[in-house]
């Protein structure tokens, strides 16, 4: 187990290294010149341009730039934001709570809503099941920015139940209240997906003979569902749930921008537009880190859920 974990962590480091290089080169290969952005379109002499380039190390060879950046990142220094004229680390740090709260809220909605809906559909064939299938079909086909628009126009503009974009509340309760529409917009697609996965995993388990055996022994139906059906369906639910959670990291930029939430996702979009390389690099790298950590957590949970699965092979022993 210790060896396995070590291997996984080394793999994780390798993934991050490769990603860091890809991110760095992609950002540098993108069209547009950061120097022009820094000058905000003001005309400047070639000398002035060169001075700015030197200040941001833009005059060095590409590989040297990459290695310098990587070395700094390893020391926790992500460079300075061109746009905000501030160190990237603290900048992201100040935006992180908003995003964390939003993603956490959405994750709870996805897990609770998705799993409950899926369970309900599996246990109530007929009308309820059909309604859930249609509902989740619509939900999975609706991208977050569409749900955002729909939610705002219905709940913020017409009904006025929730505040519209751009406002923030105070205190945890207030902030959560203000984040409700963004969290729902973020959660809808993935909750639909998780509901469908839960439903089919439950149906598969319901058809298993050991479920019938448990019933045939006089075990109450509730216990049968909980201990055998739901427990057996947990594997696919957790796997897809993990991927879902990782998906939230990506969709959050769209939703934060749509609802004007001060978070890391919005920062990413602003920085891409402004060609603020250090911020884009740092946020992308952190997102990949989040992805990889979630996957690792899911893989580590596997053997706990199904004792036949060995962590080393990831398959049935």
């Amino acid at each position: 187990m210790a060896r396995y974990l070590l291997g996984r962590l080394l793999g994780l480091a390798a993934v991050l290294l490769v990603t860091s290089f890809l991110v760095f080169s992609a950002v540098h290969l993108a069209p547009g010149d950061p120097v022009s952005f820094l000058l905000k379109g003001h005309p400047a002499t070639p000398e002035a341009r060169a001075a700015i380039a030197a200040q941001y190390h833009l005059d060095r060879p590409f590989l040297v730039q990459y290695l310098t950046w990587l070395g700094n990142v390893l020391h926790g220094d992500f460079g300075r934001s061109v746009q905000f004229r501030q160190d990237v680390g603290p900048l992201i740090g100040s935006r992180l709570p908003g995003t964390a709260l939003l993603i956490g809220y959405a994750a709870v909605l996805v897990c609770v809503g998705g799993v409950l809906t899926g369970v309900l559909a599996a246990l109530r064939p007929g009308l309820v099941d059909r309604a859930v299938l249609i509902g989740t079909g619509v939900a999975t086909a609706t991208p977050p920015f569409v749900s955002a628009i729909a939610l705002v126009s219905l709940f913020a503009v017409q009904l006025g139940w929730f505040p519209g974009p751009g406002s923030t509340g105070t205190g945890l309760g207030g902030r959560l209240y203000h984040l409700t529409l963004p969290a729902v917009a973020l959660a809808v697609t993935l909750a639909g997906l998780l509901a469908r996965v839960t439903r089919s995993a439950m149906l598969e388990q319901l058809a298993r003979e050991h479920v019938e055996v448990a019933r045939s022994r006089g075990v109450p139906e509730r216990t049968v569902i909980r201990r055998h059906v739901l427990r057996g369906a947990l594997g696919p639910i957790v796997t897809v749930g993990g991927t879902t959670l990782a998906g939230l990291l990506v969709s959050t930029s769209i939703v934060e921008s749509a609802f004007n939430v001060t978070g890391v996702g919005q920062l990413l979009v602003q920085s891409v537009t402004a060609k603020d390389f250090p911020v884009v690099q740092a946020v992308t790298l952190l997102t990949v880190l989040g992805f990889v950590l979630v996957n690792l957590a899911v893989d580590l949970l596997g053997p706990l859920i199904d004792p036949r699965v060995s962590p080393a092979t990831g398959g049935a022993a």
């Binding site: 003979e209 006089g218 201990r227 427990r231 199904d306």
Partner: protein, 323 residues
């Protein structure tokens, strides 16, 4: 005669219209007395499993049933939820064909064993002690350690012993074994049968033993019911059935059972393919495969009538055609 433990009386089962309405069982009657072992024999698809599951009140979803399934005089088909659970945890238990499929792979063996007892309201420590006792009785060494292991750490034969132990946990009056050894190899099969019959004899449990293996049924059962296409076609004491079958299907099954004794004729398969009740034409369902069929066999459905010391559903059962 003591009142039978189990009396299935004219049981007919149909699948609902939503699921390709078709009949599965037609007028099945059989009985098992306390301590008696009764065999239910027939080819695949004849409805043996549906008949046994009905004893626990487990019918295919939405299926309609006619007739009665009485356990200790009470009709299982009309029991409410609570009574049904009481029946399942105290009176009737079932051993299934494939132990791998019957045991939830995610839980420990101990949990599987005590689950039924706990459902019946037995306190945890007593249930555990009883489970260990039962594992010992079915020949599993170091029961306490075994209870902490998981199903995939057991061989098929060992796991089937666990399933038998679990079935006996609630001290049922009636045990139903649905092809309990079909998924096991021959030597394991013999051991598991030995365990099953020994415990059954010790406890005086009634046993309904389902198999498609006539030799095995002969070794285990006092009486045998032969099933074909959802109907019972012959019922007789085991010796009688082997010595003088009255239904051509029984004779066919006997002829296709391989014998080990020297000089025995080679097995002869029953020609044609087994039918399910839904496919069966009017008249005798076996007529199309029967060497002795006459035109009237396809016109008239034979009823199960006394012939010799048992019952047979054949229009020509008294004509000595099989002699």
């Amino acid at each position: 005669m003591t009142p039978a433990l189990l009396e299935i009386d004219g049981l007919s089962v149909r699948l609902p219209a939503a699921r390709a309405a078709r009949p599965i069982l037609d007028g099945v009657s059989l009985s098992v007395a306390a301590g008696e072992t009764v065999g239910l024999v027939g080819e695949s698809g004849s409805g043996k499993s549906v008949a046994c599951r009905s004893v626990l009140g487990l019918l295919p979803q939405g299926a309609g049933a006619e007739g009665q399934v009485r356990v200790g005089g009470r009709d299982v088909l009309t029991l409410d939820r609570t009574a049904l659970r009481e029946l399942r945890s105290r009176k009737v238990a079932m051993v299934f064909q494939d132990p791998r499929a019957a045991v939830d792979p995610l839980h420990r063996i101990g949990d599987f064993l005590t689950e039924g007892l706990r459902a019946a309201g037995v306190p945890a420590d007593r249930a555990t002690a009883r489970a260990a006792e039962l594992l010992d009785a079915v020949g599993i060494e170091d029961p306490r350690a075994a209870m902490r292991r998981r199903p995939h750490e057991f061989s098929g034969g060992m796991l089937q012993r666990v399933v038998i132990a679990a079935a006996l946990a609630g001290e049922p009056d009636l045990l139903i074994a649905d092809e309990p050894t079909t998924a096991l190899d021959v030597t394991t099969q013999a051991e598991v049968i030995a365990v099953l019959t020994r415990l059954q004899a010790e406890r005086g449990t009634g046993l309904l033993f389902v198999t498609h293996d006539l030799e095995l049924a002969a070794a285990v059962c006092d009486r045998i019911h032969v099933m074909y296409a959802g109907r019972i076609v012959e019922t007789r004491a085991t010796d009688e059935l082997f010595a003088r079958p009255r239904h051509p299907y029984t004779a066919g099954l006997l002829a296709c059972t391989p014998r080990i004794d020297p000089g025995a004729p080679p097995p002869r398969p029953v020609p044609g393919r087994p039918l399910s009740l839904a496919e069966a034409p009017a008249g005798c369902a076996f007529a199309a495969r029967c060497a002795f069929a006459e035109p009237r066999c396809s016109a008239e459905t034979p009823a199960l009538r006394p012939h010799g010391d048992g019952l047979a559903a054949c229009l020509r059962a008294d004509e000595g055609i099989l002699a």
